[in-house]
């Protein structure tokens, strides 16, 4: 079952965005794990130096260097699937600038001197779009990098991008830079990056919780990207959803407190009247919450993009939880 279709076959660069607090980095990490199967090699890139990826994978802070941080799942029903590899890279504009100078002008050592003189701060300040171009440039370079001979070095690249409020500007690098630099090498570079980002090889996924503001922000973000020719809106990942514990009909009905008390007593619990009343309260609040979630979910569905839903993991996110989320994404066809 290694060659099954997914919703994003052909996409090599997965950009993941979402409102702050929605678990964007967690979803990006889970997506990278999900993509790393059947011997595939995936690069997970963190665009804003918070070292969230290192913490998720329980690793020391990542340097500006691609290093292996996890092994993707093999498939249980196919003993031969060896799983794949997840590499990670934390990009900072400074490292990306040195990279750029090295790649195009072969002047990395000069770059180090310039860094000490404050060049990076200066250059990125002078051209506000510059640091975005450098970061997206690194991501697109990794997505297109080829091995000697043939084939790509990475089968997929997952970019943990800035929050939704800034992602349009972040990705629309060419337009940002063109306001400043009408000609020149950085303009050429920006145009190259834009060609990759605005191609079917790139998809931008939105992470949202089932709450009003994150949903609104995701919908606004989707509308914004749809307005940019060539940009491909990807899936909507609903994160931290609380699964309903009963059917919608059962939740609508007022809980039968005496009946619950009787059942609780049968299960060997004490003071079951009080307990049943307290549990019924929790159930009623849950019913209200499920209703709210349903409303937000249908708002997201109305956007017409594929939807994936990940459950709330109350114990907190560790490697085991990431694998669980990755399996969910795989099962739902995201990877």
């Amino acid at each position: 079952m290694t060659a099954r279709d997914t919703d994003w076959d052909g996409v090599r660069l997965h950009v993941v965005t979402g409102k702050g607090g929605t678990g964007k980095t967690t979803v990006a990490a889970a997506l990278a794990l999900a993509l790393a199967h059947s011997g595939r090699k995936v690069l997970l890139i963190e665009a804003e130096g918070r070292q969230g990826i290192a913490r998720l994978f329980d690793q020391p802070p990542l340097p500006y260097e691609e290093r292996k941080i996890a092994i993707g799942p093999g498939e249980a029903d196919d003993g031969r699937d060896p799983g794949g590899d997840v590499y990670a890279l934390a990009i900072d504009p400074e490292g990306a600038l040195l990279d750029y100078l090295q790649m195009f002008y072969n002047m990395r050592s000069a770059g180090h001197v310039l860094t000490r003189l404050g060049l990076v701060d200066f250059a990125t300040t002078i051209a506000p779009g510059l640091s975005d171009v450098l970061v997206t440039g690194k991501a697109t370079e990794a997505a297109r990098r080829r091995q000697q001979g043939s084939g790509y070095v990475y089968d997929s690249v997952v970019l943990d991008a800035p929050p939704t409020g800034r992602v349009g500007r972040f990705l629309n690098v060419s337009a940002e830079v063109s306001g400043l630099a009408k000609v020149g090498p950085i303009r050429t570079h920006a145009d190259t990056v834009a060609r990759v980002i605005k191609s079917p090889q790139t998809a931008v996924h939105f992470v949202s919780t089932l709450e009003e503001m994150p949903v609104q922000e995701a919908l606004d973000g989707i509308a914004e990207l749809r307005g940019v020719p060539g940009m491909q809106v990807g899936g909507v990942v609903i994160n931290m959803a609380q699964p309903a514990v009963l059917s919608r009909e059962e939740l609508k009905a007022a809980p039968d407190v005496p009946g619950m008390a009787k059942a609780l007593a049968a299960a060997g619990l004490h003071t079951t009247d009080v307990l049943a009343a307290a549990l019924a309260d929790e159930l009623a609040e849950h019913a209200r919450h499920v209703e709210l979630q349903d409303r937000e979910r249908s708002e997201l569905e109305a956007a017409g993009q594929p939807i994936y839903e990940l459950p709330m993991i109350t114990e907190g996110i560790d490697l085991a939880a990431l694998h669980r989320l990755a399996a969910e994404l795989r099962d739902q066809g995201a990877a």
């Binding site: 607090g21 002078i126 800035p162 929050p163 630099a181 059962e250 039968d256 009946g259 299960a267 307990l275």
Partner: protein, 396 residues
């Protein structure tokens, strides 16, 4: 146990003139700031809430279709205590333009406003928003029209950017490097030949990187700005001093999540280093522990027992009671472990900062839609009601 943050004492104290709400993105900072502003206004203060968050819903919850760069009076605030509430949203480009227009003659101002470098800097430099928020805060404070200003901080990648960015922008606009650009010969005279070589290498690299035209725009811009008023850095420093002055209170807002509390921790330490007055931590969106303390383990065990009983049940009503009770027990177990986890996460913060006054605000079932919603958050920040929640004292 940490002392309880006494919000009413802070907002009732007439010497409190500025409250800064900071914290990482997505923790409910803006809503907290609006709730504090409303509570202060209804307790008799003349309040202006300055937000940088363009959330339409926040404006709507206060009865406005949208917020703009001018403070607007919020109707339907209870004014019996003599207070009032205004709200505005920072438009950073507009604020920057206003500074230029106020300090330059019309011709020069028009020149600067049309400069592509200025346009880019004023609308998208990462530090401009923070800088302009501080500029606006200074303006509002100096106007003396309000006796309390509540401000939330921009949604930076990290809460600390807010403290550093004004410095950075000030340093940049006023800095040595930009002077090198504008008049290389003069600025480099005191330096050694080695440094001199470094600088020319740098301008060379910049030209390679950006193209000569960008550098020319930057030079024109800086020259124009330089003659207009000296010392962007001085303004940044004045803002910094304003924040250190008595009368300013910092509130760190966090959700009971490891990342948000880690940011909060850094921020608390940083404020301490900068001798900025920290009032306390608002732990927002805390899930209340359920009405019954039955443990997660016992709940799950009982739910399993019920699964078995249910299969043997004869009467449908009995089976239904079992299904509902088992579901409720599983739900309760999840609530208990969530609440336990939040307690553990918050405990890591409070044990590292045992002296920081702390206040818990319970998670609401839905987003805030109106003043009533903001008012209830404000009430949760007030004194604890008899019998515990909302607003349990401190963090156990």
């Amino acid at each position: 146990m940490n002392p309880r943050l006494d919000m009413d004492r802070i907002i009732d104290d007439r010497r409190t003139r500025i409250i800064v709400c900071c914290g990482s993105g997505g923790v409910g900072k803006t809503t907290a700031a609006a709730a504090i502003g409303l509570r202060a206004a209804e307790r008799g203060r003349q309040v202006c809430v300055l937000t940088v968050d363009p959330a339409r819903r926040l404006a709507q919850s206060m009865g406005l279709t949208s917020l703009d760069n001018t403070p607007r009076l919020i109707e339907d605030v209870d004014r019996t205590a003599g207070g009032s509430l205004y709200a505005m949203m920072l438009d950073m480009k507009r604020t920057f333009d206003e500074i230029v227009e106020a300090h330059a003659d019309p011709v020069r101002a028009a020149q600067i406003l049309a400069n592509p470098f200025y346009q880019s800097l004023s609308s998208s430099f990462a530090g401009t928003q923070e800088y302009m928020a501080m500029e606006k805060l200074g303006q509002l404070r100096r106007s003396n029209e309000w006796d309390l200003i509540v401000v939330d901080t921009p949604p930076s990648r990290s809460a600390l950017d807010f403290l550093d960015a004004p410095e950075r922008l000030g340093r940049f606009l006023d800095g040595r490097l930009i002077r090198v650009l504008t008049s290389p010969a003069k600025a480099t005279r005191p330096f050694t030949k080695v440094l001199n070589a470094g600088f020319s290498m740098m301008t060379g690299a910049l030209t390679k990187l950006l193209g000569a035209q960008v550098l020319r725009d930057a030079q024109t811009f800086v020259t124009a700005l330089d003659t207009m008023f000296g010392g962007f850095r001085e303004r940044a420093e004045a803002t910094y001093r304003l924040l250190q002055a008595p009368g300013t209170s910092f509130l760190v807002v966090a959700a009971p999540e490891p990342d948000a509390l880690r940011e909060a921790s850094y921020f608390v330490e940083r404020l301490d280093e900068e001798r900025m007055p920290l009032a306390g931590l608002v732990l927002n969106r805390v899930h209340r522990s359920p009405g019954t303390r039955l443990s997660a383990a016992r709940s799950l065990a009982a739910a399993e027992t019920l699964d078995t009983i249910q299969n043997d049940a004869v009467a449908p009503a009995e089976a239904n009671g079992c299904t509902v009770a088992a579901a409720a027990l599983r739900l309760h177990a999840a609530h208990m472990s969530l609440s336990e986890r939040e307690r553990r996460v918050a405990g890591a913060f409070t044990s590292a900062h045992p002296a920081v006054p702390t206040l818990e605000v319970p998670a609401l079932p839905a987003d805030v839609h109106d003043l009533a919603g903001l008012r209830s958050i404000g009430a949760a920040m007030g004194p604890p009601l008899e019998g515990g929640s909302p607003g349990r004292a401190g963090v156990a």
